[in-house]
Symmetry: C2
Subunit: 191 residues, 2 copies
Amino acid sequence: MPRVGLNQQTVVREAARLADEVGYQQLTLAALASRLGVALPSLYKHVRGADALAQKLSALATAELATELTTAAAGRAGGDGLRAMADAYRDYARRHPGRYPATQQVPDPNDPEHVEAGERAVGAIFAVLRGYGLTGDDAVDATRALRSALHGFVALEAEGGFGLPRELDRSYHQLVASMDISFRSWPASAG
Amino acid sequence: MPRVGLNQQTVVREAARLADEVGYQQLTLAALASRLGVALPSLYKHVRGADALAQKLSALATAELATELTTAAAGRAGGDGLRAMADAYRDYARRHPGRYPATQQVPDPNDPEHVEAGERAVGAIFAVLRGYGLTGDDAVDATRALRSALHGFVALEAEGGFGLPRELDRSYHQLVASMDISFRSWPASAG
DNA sequence: CGATGCTGGCTAATCAGGTTAGCTTTGCGG
DNA sequence: CCGCAAAGCTAACCTGATTAGCCAGCATCG
Protein backbone atom coordinates (compact mmCIF):
# COMPACT_ATOMS: atom_id res chain seq x y z
CA MET A 1 0.00 0.00 0.00
CA PRO A 2 1.65 3.24 -1.12
CA ARG A 3 1.04 6.15 1.17
CA VAL A 4 -1.28 8.92 0.12
CA GLY A 5 1.19 11.51 1.36
CA LEU A 6 -1.05 13.98 3.13
CA ASN A 7 -0.05 16.90 5.29
CA GLN A 8 -1.99 19.52 7.16
CA GLN A 9 -2.16 21.87 4.20
CA THR A 10 -3.47 19.21 1.84
CA VAL A 11 -6.13 18.23 4.33
CA VAL A 12 -7.29 21.76 5.08
CA ARG A 13 -7.34 22.74 1.41
CA GLU A 14 -9.42 19.71 0.52
CA ALA A 15 -11.73 20.50 3.41
CA ALA A 16 -12.25 23.95 1.91
CA ARG A 17 -13.11 22.47 -1.48
CA LEU A 18 -15.43 19.94 0.06
CA ALA A 19 -17.16 22.58 2.17
CA ASP A 20 -17.84 24.66 -0.94
CA GLU A 21 -19.41 21.63 -2.59
CA VAL A 22 -21.55 20.23 0.19
CA GLY A 23 -21.92 23.17 2.56
CA TYR A 24 -20.17 24.17 5.75
CA GLN A 25 -22.58 22.27 7.98
CA GLN A 26 -22.15 19.11 5.94
CA LEU A 27 -18.37 19.22 6.10
CA THR A 28 -17.56 16.11 8.07
CA LEU A 29 -14.38 14.28 8.89
CA ALA A 30 -15.89 11.12 7.47
CA ALA A 31 -16.65 12.71 4.10
CA LEU A 32 -13.27 14.41 4.02
CA ALA A 33 -11.42 11.18 4.74
CA SER A 34 -13.24 9.28 2.03
CA ARG A 35 -12.60 12.13 -0.39
CA LEU A 36 -8.89 11.96 0.41
CA GLY A 37 -8.81 8.19 0.09
CA VAL A 38 -7.88 7.42 3.69
CA ALA A 39 -9.66 6.03 6.71
CA LEU A 40 -11.22 8.58 9.03
CA PRO A 41 -8.82 8.16 11.98
CA SER A 42 -5.88 8.80 9.67
CA LEU A 43 -6.86 12.45 9.55
CA TYR A 44 -5.86 12.75 13.17
CA LYS A 45 -2.23 12.55 12.09
CA HIS A 46 -2.69 15.95 10.48
CA VAL A 47 -5.39 17.77 12.46
CA ARG A 48 -6.31 17.46 16.12
CA GLY A 49 -9.96 16.85 15.40
CA ALA A 50 -13.07 18.39 13.95
CA ASP A 51 -12.81 21.63 15.94
CA ALA A 52 -9.19 22.14 14.97
CA LEU A 53 -10.03 21.52 11.32
CA ALA A 54 -12.76 24.15 11.49
CA GLN A 55 -10.29 26.59 13.01
CA LYS A 56 -7.67 25.96 10.33
CA LEU A 57 -10.33 26.28 7.65
CA SER A 58 -11.33 29.59 9.19
CA ALA A 59 -7.73 30.79 9.03
CA LEU A 60 -7.50 29.77 5.38
CA ALA A 61 -10.77 31.38 4.36
CA THR A 62 -10.15 34.54 6.35
CA ALA A 63 -6.75 34.96 4.71
CA GLU A 64 -8.25 34.48 1.26
CA LEU A 65 -11.02 36.97 1.97
CA ALA A 66 -8.59 39.50 3.41
CA THR A 67 -6.45 39.28 0.30
CA GLU A 68 -9.41 39.77 -2.01
CA LEU A 69 -10.70 42.74 -0.02
CA THR A 70 -7.28 44.34 0.00
CA THR A 71 -6.80 43.79 -3.69
CA ALA A 72 -10.21 45.17 -4.54
CA ALA A 73 -9.69 48.33 -2.53
CA ALA A 74 -6.16 48.95 -3.74
CA GLY A 75 -5.81 52.16 -5.70
CA ARG A 76 -9.44 53.18 -5.26
CA ALA A 77 -10.62 55.96 -3.03
CA GLY A 78 -13.88 56.84 -1.28
CA GLY A 79 -17.03 55.44 -2.79
CA ASP A 80 -15.12 53.62 -5.51
CA GLY A 81 -13.08 51.76 -2.91
CA LEU A 82 -16.16 51.00 -0.86
CA ARG A 83 -18.09 49.61 -3.80
CA ALA A 84 -15.15 47.56 -5.03
CA MET A 85 -14.61 46.08 -1.59
CA ALA A 86 -18.28 45.37 -1.04
CA ASP A 87 -18.50 43.60 -4.39
CA ALA A 88 -15.42 41.55 -3.58
CA TYR A 89 -16.92 40.58 -0.24
CA ARG A 90 -20.18 39.33 -1.68
CA ASP A 91 -18.36 37.69 -4.58
CA TYR A 92 -16.20 35.70 -2.24
CA ALA A 93 -19.20 34.53 -0.24
CA ARG A 94 -20.99 33.41 -3.38
CA ARG A 95 -18.01 31.71 -4.97
CA HIS A 96 -17.16 29.96 -1.70
CA PRO A 97 -20.42 29.21 0.08
CA GLY A 98 -18.73 26.66 2.31
CA ARG A 99 -15.71 28.75 3.22
CA TYR A 100 -17.57 31.97 3.88
CA PRO A 101 -19.25 30.83 7.11
CA ALA A 102 -15.81 29.81 8.36
CA THR A 103 -14.62 33.41 8.05
CA GLN A 104 -17.04 34.42 10.78
CA GLN A 105 -15.32 32.31 13.41
CA VAL A 106 -13.35 34.42 15.87
CA PRO A 107 -9.61 34.02 15.19
CA ASP A 108 -7.81 31.61 17.50
CA PRO A 109 -5.30 33.64 19.57
CA ASN A 110 -2.97 30.63 19.51
CA ASP A 111 -2.77 30.61 15.72
CA PRO A 112 -0.70 33.61 14.61
CA GLU A 113 -1.65 33.16 10.96
CA HIS A 114 -5.31 33.17 11.88
CA VAL A 115 -4.93 36.31 13.96
CA GLU A 116 -2.96 37.99 11.23
CA ALA A 117 -5.59 37.13 8.63
CA GLY A 118 -8.33 38.61 10.79
CA GLU A 119 -6.36 41.78 11.29
CA ARG A 120 -5.71 42.06 7.59
CA ALA A 121 -9.41 41.73 6.79
CA VAL A 122 -10.48 44.33 9.31
CA GLY A 123 -7.55 46.45 8.23
CA ALA A 124 -8.81 46.48 4.66
CA ILE A 125 -12.15 47.85 5.82
CA PHE A 126 -10.46 50.31 8.10
CA ALA A 127 -8.34 51.60 5.25
CA VAL A 128 -11.35 52.28 3.07
CA LEU A 129 -13.00 54.19 5.89
CA ARG A 130 -9.89 56.25 6.43
CA GLY A 131 -10.56 57.50 2.94
CA TYR A 132 -13.76 59.03 4.33
CA GLY A 133 -11.78 60.83 6.99
CA LEU A 134 -12.99 58.50 9.72
CA THR A 135 -10.60 57.76 12.58
CA GLY A 136 -10.72 56.80 16.23
CA ASP A 137 -14.11 55.89 17.70
CA ASP A 138 -15.86 56.90 14.50
CA ALA A 139 -13.76 54.47 12.51
CA VAL A 140 -14.53 51.71 15.01
CA ASP A 141 -18.25 52.36 14.80
CA ALA A 142 -18.20 52.65 11.04
CA THR A 143 -16.19 49.46 10.65
CA ARG A 144 -18.69 47.60 12.77
CA ALA A 145 -21.54 49.07 10.78
CA LEU A 146 -20.01 48.08 7.48
CA ARG A 147 -19.17 44.58 8.61
CA SER A 148 -22.71 44.20 9.95
CA ALA A 149 -24.29 45.34 6.72
CA LEU A 150 -22.12 43.22 4.44
CA HIS A 151 -22.23 40.10 6.57
CA GLY A 152 -25.92 40.45 7.26
CA PHE A 153 -26.81 40.76 3.59
CA VAL A 154 -24.57 37.94 2.50
CA ALA A 155 -25.77 35.65 5.29
CA LEU A 156 -29.43 36.30 4.55
CA GLU A 157 -28.82 35.84 0.84
CA ALA A 158 -27.05 32.53 1.39
CA GLU A 159 -29.90 31.23 3.53
CA GLY A 160 -32.47 32.25 0.96
CA GLY A 161 -33.87 34.56 3.61
CA PHE A 162 -34.92 37.21 1.10
CA GLY A 163 -37.78 35.47 -0.64
CA LEU A 164 -37.35 35.89 -4.38
CA PRO A 165 -33.75 35.74 -5.55
CA ARG A 166 -34.42 38.34 -8.22
CA GLU A 167 -33.24 41.86 -7.81
CA LEU A 168 -30.73 40.97 -5.14
CA ASP A 169 -27.99 42.78 -7.02
CA ARG A 170 -29.98 45.99 -7.02
CA SER A 171 -30.77 45.68 -3.32
CA TYR A 172 -27.13 45.09 -2.51
CA HIS A 173 -25.98 48.06 -4.50
CA GLN A 174 -28.55 50.23 -2.77
CA LEU A 175 -27.31 49.03 0.57
CA VAL A 176 -23.74 49.85 -0.32
CA ALA A 177 -24.77 53.22 -1.71
CA SER A 178 -26.60 54.03 1.50
CA MET A 179 -23.52 53.11 3.52
CA ASP A 180 -21.51 55.43 1.29
CA ILE A 181 -23.85 58.29 2.13
CA SER A 182 -23.69 57.45 5.81
CA PHE A 183 -19.92 57.45 5.88
CA ARG A 184 -19.80 60.84 4.21
CA SER A 185 -21.84 62.34 7.02
CA TRP A 186 -20.53 60.25 9.92
CA PRO A 187 -21.12 60.46 12.89
CA ALA A 188 -24.72 59.93 12.06
CA SER A 189 -26.09 61.26 15.31
CA ALA A 190 -24.89 63.91 17.68
CA GLY A 191 -24.73 61.03 20.18
CA MET B 1 -45.16 5.18 36.43
CA PRO B 2 -47.41 8.20 35.94
CA ARG B 3 -47.16 9.84 32.57
CA VAL B 4 -45.32 13.09 32.20
CA GLY B 5 -48.10 14.44 30.02
CA LEU B 6 -46.19 16.14 27.25
CA ASN B 7 -47.54 17.58 24.04
CA GLN B 8 -45.93 19.33 21.13
CA GLN B 9 -46.22 22.76 22.70
CA THR B 10 -44.63 21.68 25.96
CA VAL B 11 -41.76 20.09 24.09
CA VAL B 12 -41.11 23.04 21.80
CA ARG B 13 -41.34 25.55 24.63
CA GLU B 14 -38.89 23.61 26.75
CA ALA B 15 -36.61 23.34 23.73
CA ALA B 16 -36.67 27.14 23.50
CA ARG B 17 -35.74 27.49 27.17
CA LEU B 18 -33.00 24.91 26.85
CA ALA B 19 -31.60 26.56 23.72
CA ASP B 20 -31.36 29.87 25.54
CA GLU B 21 -29.43 28.19 28.35
CA VAL B 22 -27.00 26.03 26.43
CA GLY B 23 -26.97 27.62 22.97
CA TYR B 24 -28.72 26.79 19.74
CA GLN B 25 -25.99 24.48 18.53
CA GLN B 26 -26.02 22.54 21.79
CA LEU B 27 -29.76 22.01 21.70
CA THR B 28 -30.02 18.26 21.38
CA LEU B 29 -32.86 15.80 21.54
CA ALA B 30 -30.93 13.87 24.19
CA ALA B 31 -30.56 16.90 26.46
CA LEU B 32 -34.16 17.92 25.88
CA ALA B 33 -35.48 14.47 26.74
CA SER B 34 -33.51 14.29 29.96
CA ARG B 35 -34.66 17.79 30.85
CA LEU B 36 -38.27 16.73 30.34
CA GLY B 37 -37.81 13.53 32.31
CA VAL B 38 -38.48 11.11 29.47
CA ALA B 39 -36.39 8.79 27.34
CA LEU B 40 -35.14 10.20 24.07
CA PRO B 41 -37.35 8.16 21.71
CA SER B 42 -40.42 9.31 23.60
CA LEU B 43 -40.00 12.74 22.04
CA TYR B 44 -40.89 11.23 18.69
CA LYS B 45 -44.49 11.01 19.88
CA HIS B 46 -44.59 14.81 19.76
CA VAL B 47 -42.11 15.92 17.10
CA ARG B 48 -41.02 14.13 13.93
CA GLY B 49 -37.34 14.47 14.73
CA ALA B 50 -34.55 16.95 15.23
CA ASP B 51 -35.22 18.86 12.01
CA ALA B 52 -38.90 19.22 12.76
CA LEU B 53 -38.13 20.43 16.25
CA ALA B 54 -35.82 23.08 14.85
CA GLN B 55 -38.56 24.19 12.47
CA LYS B 56 -41.15 24.45 15.24
CA LEU B 57 -38.68 26.32 17.39
CA SER B 58 -38.13 28.70 14.49
CA ALA B 59 -41.87 29.29 14.21
CA LEU B 60 -42.10 30.00 17.94
CA ALA B 61 -39.13 32.35 18.02
CA THR B 62 -40.15 34.16 14.85
CA ALA B 63 -43.62 34.75 16.24
CA GLU B 64 -42.20 36.11 19.48
CA LEU B 65 -39.81 38.40 17.65
CA ALA B 66 -42.54 39.62 15.31
CA THR B 67 -44.73 40.51 18.26
CA GLU B 68 -41.98 42.41 20.01
CA LEU B 69 -41.07 44.32 16.86
CA THR B 70 -44.68 45.22 16.23
CA THR B 71 -45.22 46.33 19.81
CA ALA B 72 -42.07 48.42 19.84
CA ALA B 73 -42.99 50.25 16.65
CA ALA B 74 -46.62 50.80 17.58
CA GLY B 75 -47.52 54.44 17.89
CA ARG B 76 -44.08 55.70 16.93
CA ALA B 77 -43.22 57.33 13.65
CA GLY B 78 -40.08 57.81 11.59
CA GLY B 79 -36.80 57.73 13.44
CA ASP B 80 -38.52 57.05 16.76
CA GLY B 81 -40.16 53.95 15.34
CA LEU B 82 -36.95 52.82 13.74
CA ARG B 83 -34.93 53.19 16.93
CA ALA B 84 -37.57 51.49 19.05
CA MET B 85 -37.77 48.57 16.65
CA ALA B 86 -34.01 48.25 16.35
CA ASP B 87 -33.64 48.21 20.13
CA ALA B 88 -36.35 45.60 20.43
CA TYR B 89 -34.62 43.47 17.81
CA ARG B 90 -31.25 43.50 19.56
CA ASP B 91 -32.92 43.06 22.95
CA TYR B 92 -34.66 39.94 21.81
CA ALA B 93 -31.45 38.46 20.46
CA ARG B 94 -29.64 39.15 23.71
CA ARG B 95 -32.39 37.92 25.99
CA HIS B 96 -32.84 34.79 23.88
CA PRO B 97 -29.44 33.81 22.51
CA GLY B 98 -30.66 30.31 21.74
CA ARG B 99 -33.91 31.30 20.06
CA TYR B 100 -32.52 34.11 17.97
CA PRO B 101 -30.57 31.91 15.54
CA ALA B 102 -33.78 29.95 15.01
CA THR B 103 -35.50 33.08 13.70
CA GLN B 104 -33.13 33.10 10.73
CA GLN B 105 -34.43 29.81 9.38
CA VAL B 106 -36.60 30.28 6.31
CA PRO B 107 -40.26 29.66 7.21
CA ASP B 108 -41.59 26.23 6.29
CA PRO B 109 -44.29 26.70 3.62
CA ASN B 110 -46.13 23.72 5.10
CA ASP B 111 -46.50 25.39 8.49
CA PRO B 112 -49.02 28.22 8.22
CA GLU B 113 -48.14 29.60 11.64
CA HIS B 114 -44.50 29.74 10.68
CA VAL B 115 -45.27 31.53 7.43
CA GLU B 116 -47.57 33.95 9.19
CA ALA B 117 -44.94 34.73 11.81
CA GLY B 118 -42.38 35.48 9.13
CA GLU B 119 -44.78 37.76 7.32
CA ARG B 120 -45.60 39.56 10.53
CA ALA B 121 -41.91 40.19 11.26
CA VAL B 122 -41.16 41.52 7.81
CA GLY B 123 -44.42 43.44 7.94
CA ALA B 124 -43.31 45.25 11.07
CA ILE B 125 -40.17 46.43 9.32
CA PHE B 126 -42.12 47.34 6.22
CA ALA B 127 -44.53 49.42 8.27
CA VAL B 128 -41.73 51.45 9.82
CA LEU B 129 -40.28 52.12 6.40
CA ARG B 130 -43.64 53.25 5.10
CA GLY B 131 -43.27 56.01 7.67
CA TYR B 132 -40.32 57.22 5.61
CA GLY B 133 -42.45 57.31 2.50
CA LEU B 134 -40.79 54.23 1.05
CA THR B 135 -42.94 51.95 -1.10
CA GLY B 136 -42.55 49.48 -3.94
CA ASP B 137 -39.02 48.54 -4.96
CA ASP B 138 -37.56 51.12 -2.63
CA ALA B 139 -39.32 49.56 0.32
CA VAL B 140 -38.07 46.11 -0.69
CA ASP B 141 -34.50 47.33 -0.95
CA ALA B 142 -34.73 49.26 2.29
CA THR B 143 -36.25 46.32 4.14
CA ARG B 144 -33.44 44.11 2.99
CA ALA B 145 -30.92 46.73 4.00
CA LEU B 146 -32.39 47.10 7.46
CA ARG B 147 -32.66 43.36 8.03
CA SER B 148 -29.07 42.97 6.89
CA ALA B 149 -27.78 45.65 9.21
CA LEU B 150 -29.69 44.48 12.28
CA HIS B 151 -29.04 40.79 11.76
CA GLY B 152 -25.41 41.35 10.86
CA PHE B 153 -24.72 43.39 13.96
CA VAL B 154 -26.55 41.05 16.28
CA ALA B 155 -24.92 37.98 14.77
CA LEU B 156 -21.42 39.43 15.00
CA GLU B 157 -22.08 40.59 18.55
CA ALA B 158 -23.33 37.14 19.60
CA GLU B 159 -20.24 35.49 18.17
CA GLY B 160 -17.95 37.92 19.93
CA GLY B 161 -16.80 38.98 16.49
CA PHE B 162 -16.26 42.60 17.50
CA GLY B 163 -13.23 42.26 19.74
CA LEU B 164 -13.85 44.20 22.92
CA PRO B 165 -17.45 44.07 24.14
CA ARG B 166 -17.28 47.66 25.35
CA GLU B 167 -18.95 50.42 23.45
CA LEU B 168 -21.18 48.07 21.53
CA ASP B 169 -24.22 50.09 22.51
CA ARG B 170 -22.72 53.19 21.01
CA SER B 171 -21.78 51.41 17.81
CA TYR B 172 -25.26 49.98 17.47
CA HIS B 173 -26.91 53.32 17.98
CA GLN B 174 -24.63 54.85 15.37
CA LEU B 175 -25.55 52.11 12.95
CA VAL B 176 -29.24 52.71 13.50
CA ALA B 177 -28.78 56.46 13.22
CA SER B 178 -26.98 56.01 9.92
CA MET B 179 -29.81 53.84 8.62
CA ASP B 180 -32.22 56.57 9.65
CA ILE B 181 -30.32 59.07 7.55
CA SER B 182 -30.20 56.66 4.64
CA PHE B 183 -33.93 56.07 4.70
CA ARG B 184 -34.60 59.78 4.71
CA SER B 185 -32.71 60.16 1.44
CA TRP B 186 -33.60 56.82 -0.18
CA PRO B 187 -32.94 55.79 -2.92
CA ALA B 188 -29.32 56.23 -2.08
CA SER B 189 -28.07 56.15 -5.64
CA ALA B 190 -29.57 57.23 -8.90
CA GLY B 191 -29.25 53.53 -9.82
C1' DC C 1 23.39 -2.58 0.84
C1' DG C 2 21.11 -3.25 5.08
C1' DA C 3 19.59 -1.82 9.64
C1' DT C 4 16.90 1.75 12.01
C1' DG C 5 13.46 4.71 13.36
C1' DC C 6 10.07 8.23 12.33
C1' DT C 7 5.59 8.66 11.08
C1' DG C 8 1.57 8.02 8.03
C1' DG C 9 -1.99 5.04 7.70
C1' DC C 10 -4.77 1.09 9.54
C1' DT C 11 -8.07 -1.70 12.53
C1' DA C 12 -10.67 -2.06 16.63
C1' DA C 13 -13.25 -0.18 20.20
C1' DT C 14 -15.91 3.40 22.56
C1' DC C 15 -19.02 7.29 22.88
C1' DA C 16 -22.70 10.59 21.69
C1' DG C 17 -26.63 11.63 19.11
C1' DG C 18 -30.52 10.39 16.10
C1' DT C 19 -33.91 7.25 14.27
C1' DT C 20 -37.01 3.15 13.82
C1' DA C 21 -39.58 -0.85 15.44
C1' DG C 22 -42.34 -2.84 18.37
C1' DC C 23 -44.01 -3.67 23.21
C1' DT C 24 -46.42 -2.09 27.49
C1' DT C 25 -49.59 0.40 30.04
C1' DT C 26 -51.96 4.60 31.36
C1' DG C 27 -56.08 6.71 31.74
C1' DC C 28 -60.02 8.83 29.30
C1' DG C 29 -64.66 8.02 26.92
C1' DG C 30 -68.32 5.26 26.80
C1' DC D 1 -65.99 -1.56 34.28
C1' DC D 2 -63.99 -2.03 29.62
C1' DG D 3 -61.65 -0.92 25.52
C1' DC D 4 -58.49 1.36 22.99
C1' DA D 5 -55.70 5.48 21.41
C1' DA D 6 -51.56 7.13 22.45
C1' DA D 7 -47.67 8.13 25.76
C1' DG D 8 -43.75 6.22 27.11
C1' DC D 9 -40.33 2.42 27.20
C1' DT D 10 -36.52 -0.91 25.69
C1' DA D 11 -33.72 -2.72 22.11
C1' DA D 12 -31.29 -2.26 18.05
C1' DC D 13 -28.92 0.16 14.45
C1' DC D 14 -26.70 4.10 11.96
C1' DT D 15 -23.51 7.98 11.37
C1' DG D 16 -19.85 10.66 13.05
C1' DA D 17 -15.96 11.69 16.34
C1' DT D 18 -12.33 10.18 19.06
C1' DT D 19 -8.64 7.27 21.26
C1' DA D 20 -5.41 3.38 21.54
C1' DG D 21 -2.35 0.63 19.72
C1' DC D 22 -0.41 -1.93 15.67
C1' DC D 23 2.11 -2.17 11.18
C1' DA D 24 4.61 -0.84 7.26
C1' DG D 25 6.69 2.64 3.87
C1' DC D 26 10.61 5.09 3.26
C1' DA D 27 14.40 8.15 4.22
C1' DT D 28 18.66 8.23 6.46
C1' DC D 29 22.85 6.69 8.30
C1' DG D 30 26.45 3.49 8.94
